[in-house]
Symmetry: C2
Subunit: 435 residues, 2 copies
Amino acid sequence: MQIILLSGGSGQRLWPLSNEIRSKQFIKIFKSSNEEYESMLQRTLKQIRNAGKNISITVATSEYQETILKKYIDSDIKISSEPSRRDTFPCIALAAAYLYDVQKIDLNESVVVCPVDPYVDDNFFESFNLLADQISEDFPLVLMGINPTYPSEKYGYIIPTSTEKISDVKTFKEKPNQQTAQKYIDEGALWNGGVFAFKLKYILNKTQKLLGFSSYDEILKNYDSLEKISFDYAVVEHEKNIKVVRYNGEWKDVGTWNTLTEVMQSNYIGKVQADQTCENLHVINESDLPIICMGLENIIVAASPEGILISEKTSSSYIKPFVENIHQQIRFAEKSWGSFKVIDVEKGSLTIKVTLNAGHRMKYHSHEFRREIWNIIEGSGRVVIDDVEKFVKVGDIIEIPINCKHTIIADMDMKIIEVQIGESIDVEDKKVFLN
Amino acid sequence: MQIILLSGGSGQRLWPLSNEIRSKQFIKIFKSSNEEYESMLQRTLKQIRNAGKNISITVATSEYQETILKKYIDSDIKISSEPSRRDTFPCIALAAAYLYDVQKIDLNESVVVCPVDPYVDDNFFESFNLLADQISEDFPLVLMGINPTYPSEKYGYIIPTSTEKISDVKTFKEKPNQQTAQKYIDEGALWNGGVFAFKLKYILNKTQKLLGFSSYDEILKNYDSLEKISFDYAVVEHEKNIKVVRYNGEWKDVGTWNTLTEVMQSNYIGKVQADQTCENLHVINESDLPIICMGLENIIVAASPEGILISEKTSSSYIKPFVENIHQQIRFAEKSWGSFKVIDVEKGSLTIKVTLNAGHRMKYHSHEFRREIWNIIEGSGRVVIDDVEKFVKVGDIIEIPINCKHTIIADMDMKIIEVQIGESIDVEDKKVFLN
């Protein structure tokens, strides 16, 4: 069985811990068995691993998130990278074509598409086999139904023909208004859990029909101009013969601070002091500043190098327009090779702290409009400056003039204070060379 | 008339905007007429200036705060610096001896002692002349009485013999318990506003009697071993003949976040977004991180390079033990020559951003256990490295080995990223030279 794990999404709803590069599935808030914190992505991958041996995983993600993703996943997990965000149908079509054209997966292999971010029990993933077993010529599409808890306008509604665990689907309706949602619930509807099971050939046929092509190369080439459309609208709403499998365990869509804190095992992460009178307070402090909380009730506090959120819990769902108002460059990012964090911003200069993991290197590159100074504060390695390699260690300073090609190779874990100086400092000012 | 303005105090109650170096009187939270923010110290000095021409001001402060103080006061204001904190009696004795021995003030000159931090109307200071007029041989000590608003345990209580504006004092009691305080209030007691008027000779006599000496040099020499005692306990409680002048205007002891926010003219200072549902929320953001607040009521948020406080307003008075739990070095400070801010802390390295104002210089110094790298990111000036002077400008890098004497002189405003590297990095590791 092939699982396509949808791991995209922008990071606005969980600002300031998520941003363009690090979206919510990478935030480490779940306590794993060994008392370390793990992210939603790590938790989900572990659950899928535990669900069965014959499962092969492909993570469908955006190019932006590819480097951070590689840091967290084992090498046997495949990645399908979208050049841009085009919603779930193009994303699933691309991943399916990748499976067929690149990974040479058989057309009759079962594929289960699953979002990375529902917080669920292990048996959620265990039931994937049951979904796959229901796929047939007559019923080429199988969904997972979740018992709805309120008439949400956010989900698709599946109306089954029976109350059995496995049932035919009478109708499927994407995101109705509240009143209609309530009507559906009264008729016994289930939420669409975002899980879709089908044969690989099914989605490739749909892709051919809807886009006019279905090869990996063609989808990739045309990706940026594809219509933004969800799999639900493009495929599910038009499919007459669908089966649904009911899932009865815990299922939480942890897309907002309010819902996310409901599944956190500890109230405080990071440097936090809270007095005895705090109640239902969650603090996630990824900054290195100490936080003191006093007399707070039903509040979420989240702090990172990007900013600070303090919100009454239910209010936190409405954060998006406020985040959109903040026009600042990304201030921290995890990369496959380490991480960076902006530590000072001035007109004419930018200072960042770069962490480079042992064995990793930066790309060989140059800048047209800024010079850089590397202050090595930890570890040792080698720099290459205009094709000349040199050993460097703690306390060494490397000056990189404008247009000078440069890279650094970490022989052990390294930390660097990088001072960028120039009239125009822009992440786009980067020319990459092979070396 | 001589005014001794008491400007000491540690900064714990208004953490994280105050710290050991910058105590509360330096926090800029009051809107002045020209729409800029001014500090309590600036506000008070302006009010005293407006109160009369024949007033000469001496600020009594701790050595720690002397450099920041110089930044904010005019050159005609005198400073009496305590080598350590010994409570108000030694502090006032030192300042009085300084006035007599160093400033050669006449023994019959009137002295009014006043704390820097009550938030009051202009006529508070205008009434100082009235206090001074009441000083006589029979009544050598005159206090200012404040109408009490609740049976506080924090203040001294003055019980006057009449309800007149000016009255003799029947008794004075320092910090009673709540029950006794209520009894005093029922008897018509007033709060002691911390203002004391006397002739210079009066306090010098008391000093001689209590300490056995009264010269500036001797007080200074013995300062660290003097008993910590307040002026109220040492002098006022033992004085039989006191007069009190009532003050009826606004008087607020803005020593906690709760009381301080009551006198702030604007709710948000710094990068702050708050949604429509926030009520009675005050945010003072001195960090460069954006803050988003949603659905908060009766809350104070304060953020600086030291840390982040989020507190329900009345709870904020109990902050002290939490601040004491935080064991970190001071992360930012304003100095007479500019300012510094810690921007990165690692085992084995510390990175700070130094701002040096035009015309100022660092002391000529060296370090035994750390080397430093100066990355000049703004302005130009001169460095002196082991007695050799050299011009420096943006983009220059200065390496300072261990034990190397160094200083920098700013010819224009300069900003420097200073990377300190060493196994032991300590502010005490500093040898200062004359140059």
